[in-house]
Symmetry: C2
Subunit: 334 residues, 2 copies
């Protein structure tokens, strides 16, 4: 088993640094080949690294907050934990970085510091959807609010490589998120995308709709970052409202309470099967190296799983595979 | 109580005509002031009308199928049940029509036959979201895949009138579906919409995100028909997957089965609280008269409730109120 080194942003996330350190400790136990470079303020990272093997402190004096302007924050806070993480990858000292901090800032750090893979027009934020039966990768879910159809073609090939090589789904099928299954359906942008995807992406299988996202029929779903972000947050919102209603109902009246005790494990299994914590990290596809975003509300388990997903991303060499695929596509076009 | 006459498409929906007739019979019992003009083929509508008071048959020879091209079908199938319904409203013989058939064709029949209210740029399909605590109206959810910001301004005022006058939510607040709460967030289209809404819609309250749709914080959510349709179908899809997982879990193992028996009523109450059947019909706002769309998969209860929603829409005079509001807005602009 080869050694793998990850730069971890100790300061990223609503519950940082507590849950990040806890998740990091658990991941170090899980993976004997894992080295962590823990980036954060001295009082956070130094005591932790003193107590844990295979964990090196990289002391920073600044932190990028969740609500800062992403690009501006990355450009001005040169000594922040997030910028440090990206620099460590750029310098070859780490193979990937993981932060549960601001998604926009992680994206900006990845794109501006690590840099785009040659030929990639726009990196895309992909998410592994919490589908109960199998992973589904949707890209873009927020990196590019305005897209051109050509971006979606690249999202399709990058996300296909990701789901196949990192998540082990063979021969993935790509769908376009649209408002009808027929190829004549959709906005003028969706129609253009459909046409280009059909012409250029061999594993393109047609349109899917919002109701198909979690059924497991699609492997890869491509969309512009605006629609993808709305769909992703809608999924999260519906889950949260329904589980909230279940909790409220299950606590009202003796009969419900007894039923709830009996069903506790079952309901927990459902919650787990659709939880964003299962993978814990979403990849920014198209940058040089693994650049992984955790949910702001990550708990320790989500951080632990996110580190595992980062390791899998690194070990699958998906960055190199994307680079080769884009280069091949470009040489075909020329 | 004034008499109210509704043209009902007996042939519309996946389970038509059976569930339509069943729902119609129940609605006639519910509302002693209701008259129905039942449009459909002779063998469907004549026996039913012979057996029911306040129900008149309007015999047609054609039916528009779910998968036909909406505008073409409405233009060519002049003797279809859906076209007949819209004509009855246009001729003043019915005050509104309701169909659980093709949404696109209902939309086309409403717009082409009943006609747009003067000054309305584009009618919008609004839906009453299945939020557990209170109704939320989202518009557009699919009538206009491509929108201009000015359309959303009209969706905002039409949907505000609808939720206030028909559903009884006072002083409704309007939100723009976007990918962040800050006004600087979004696609270039969303930014333009935000600016125009802030300038022209007095009850505009800012951006909301996908995760806010069912919390009950928003009253009206405006969006282009592409994004709205994706969000609506995503809500339906997540609900269906989660209830499916619950059913599967609750049937596996004795402990779960006993728990499920105890929780049966509670789970049903949750399902009902988020069911699209509660209102049964979605209004097409901006056409002359009540033009209501049911879900293709409507059951008899959904049809029954959809007829009630159609009655409420007619009795609230929302069409006239929209006409006045649009006229006032236009005179301000001139």
């Amino acid at each position: 088993m080869n050694e793998v080194t990850i730069a971890l942003d100790a300061m990223g996330g609503d519950n940082a640094p507590g849950v990040v350190l806890e998740g990091c400790a658990a991941a170090l136990k899980d993976h004997p080949n894992l080295h962590i470079i823990l980036c954060g303020t001295a009082e956070v990272v130094e005591p932790f690294c003193a107590e844990h093997d295979r964990c090196e402190a990289s002391v920073c004096t600044e932190v990028i907050a969740m609500d800062e302007h992403p690009v501006q924050a990355v450009r001005t806070k040169k000594d922040s934990s997030m910028v440090r993480c990206a620099q460590l990858v750029k310098e070859g000292k780490a193979q990937g970085f993981f932060s549960a901090g601001s998604t926009g800032a992680t994206m900006a750090a990845g794109t501006l510091i690590m840099g785009r893979i040659k030929g990639v027009q726009r990196p895309g934020l992909a998410t592994i959807l919490p589908c109960p039966t199998k992973p589904v990768v949707m890209c873009d879910v927020g990196a590019n609010a305005d897209c051109k159809p050509a971006y979606l073609v690249q999202f399709a090939s990058m996300a296909s490589l990701y789901i196949e090589k990192v998540l082990g789904v063979p021969n993935p099928k790509v769908y376009l998120l649209n408002i009808g299954e027929e190829e004549t359906k959709g906005s003028s942008f969706a129609l253009e995308c459909h046409e280009l995807l059909a012409q250029t992406v061999p594993n393109f299988a047609g349109n899917c709709e919002g109701r198909d996202l979690l059924t497991g029929e699609c492997d890869v779903v491509v969309t512009d970052g605006f629609t993808g972000n709305v769909a992703l947050k809608t999924i999260e919102g519906v889950g949260s409202v329904l589980f909230g209603e279940m909790k409220r109902t299950f606590m009202s009246g003796l009969k419900n309470k007894i039923g709830a005790v009996l069903l506790k494990d079952g309901v927990k299994a459902i919650k787990d099967s659709v939880s964003a914590d299962t993978y814990g990290a979403a990849p920014i596809l198209g940058v040089k190296g693994a650049c992984m975003v955790g949910h702001g509300s990550s708990n320790a388990l989500a951080i632990q799983n996110g580190i595992t997903t980062t390791i899998n991303t690194i070990e699958s060499n998906v960055t190199e595979l994307i680079a080769e695929s884009v280069a091949a596509q470009r040489s075909q076009e020329n």
